[in-house]
């Protein structure tokens, strides 16, 4: 028993809950990628000592309750308008670190105009974009990012090109815009990809603080309830079907 007590002290600690995350249990479904991305955001903010200076803009979607879990300042924006709100906050408080946390229904559907124009103005903000190819919170409807032949509540026979068009590669579009400085596509299904995403997220936050332009980090995520799969199946399905269409990696870095 003596050796067990020796093990449990701070210098042997390898991994624990990020200090900025409180003890509330998240409302997300089991295995949701939101939990891991929340942890990464909390860790990066704590590592960069930006706890007192960070203002997050929560969007509409499952992540609307992010202010319940990470103890920093938050503003809840209207649906799709998070980059517009972030623009105002950053321009009024140039010393603050401002980021938005949006899903694909928010960023790529209703908020496309706000997102593209915020990037075009080169606002010094970070946009964290969770792409799970479905409208998770509203019950699994088709999103602009839904991949071809994927079944959802509003396209039960699979997404059809002639009827619904092609999946929207919003990060590739944003990478073409002059105002963006870092556009990257990441995933959080394994330890390796999580560690890599953390480095990129850290870089994005540094860019925003040094005034280089807009940084967009897209996270390819799972939606176990929307896809109607178990968390492990969903991860496998994502690796097999989503990653060929949305390949991981840095799209733009200047």
């Amino acid at each position: 028993m003596k050796s067990i007590n020796n093990t449990i002290n701070l210098e042997n600690l390898v991994y624990t809950k990020p200090s900025l995350m409180n003890s509330n249990i998240t409302h997300y479904c089991p295995g949701c990628s939101h939990g891991v991305v929340h942890k990464l955001v909390a860790e990066v903010i704590a590592n960069m000592n930006l706890e007192e200076q960070t203002i997050g803009i929560a969007s509409v979607g499952c992540s609307v309750f992010i202010y319940n879990y990470i103890d920093i300042d938050w503003i809840g924006a209207a649906h799709g308008r998070a980059p517009a709100v972030a623009t105002a906050v950053k321009r009024l408080n140039p010393n603050k670190m401002v980021f938005t946390y949006q899903g694909d229904g928010d960023l790529a559907a209703i908020g496309t105009a706000e997102t593209i124009h915020a990037c075009n103005r080169g606002e010094n903000i970070v946009i964290i974009f969770i792409n799970n190819a479905i409208y998770g919170m509203t019950g699994g409807q088709m999103a602009p990012t839904t991949i071809l032949k994927m079944q959802t509540a509003t396209c039960p026979y699979g997404r059809d090109i002639s009827l619904n068009g092609y999946p929207l590669q919003i990060s590739n579009i944003l990478a073409q815009i002059e105002g963006t400085c870092l556009v990257s596509r990441e995933a959080v299904f394994s330890t390796k990809t999580i560690k890599k995403s953390k480095k990129i997220l850290c870089k994005a936050f540094k860019n925003a603080m040094s005034g280089k332009g807009t940084s967009i980090i897209e996270f390819i995520s799972t939606c176990t309830s929307g896809w109607k799969m178990s968390p492990i199946q969903a991860n496998k399905w994502m690796i097999k079907n989503m990653l060929p269409i949305y390949p991981l990696g840095v799209l733009k870095d200047k």
């Binding site: 050796s3 067990i4 020796n6 093990t7 449990i8 042997n12 600690l13 390898v14 991994y15 624990t16 809950k17 990020p18 995350m21 249990i25 998240t26 997300y28 479904c29 089991p30 295995g31 949701c32 990628s33 939101h34 939990g35 891991v36 942890k39 959080v188 299904f189 394994s190 330890t191 999580i194 560690k195 176990t224 178990s230 968390p231 492990i232 991860n235």
Partner: protein, 81 residues
């Protein structure tokens, strides 16, 4: 001989039984085994605590912050659990 010994602590009330840590564990010593918490989720358990190497893969992939990982490098002679 130097052995790396890890210890993990699982907050069973937070666990939602997604099983991502079971898949990620390199030694396959985590299991979901018919025990449920107050929210009736089947929570994760460690079968062979002595074999844990403290790689913290389970902690990284856990979406619900359930797992705390400690690691110690110690001589085999004076280390036992």
């Amino acid at each position: 001989m130097i052995k790396t010994q890890g210890r993990i602590f699982i907050d069973i009330e937070r666990c939602k039984g997604c099983g991502l840590c079971v898949l990620e564990c390199p030694l396959k010593i985590l299991v979901l085994d018919r025990k449920i918490n107050t929210k009736s989720y089947e929570y994760v358990q460690i079968t062979k605590p002595n074999e844990c190497i403290g790689c913290a893969n389970c902690g990284y992939v856990c979406p619900d912050n359930c797992i705390t990982v400690y690691k110690i490098k110690n001589n085999m002679e004076n280390f036992s659990i």
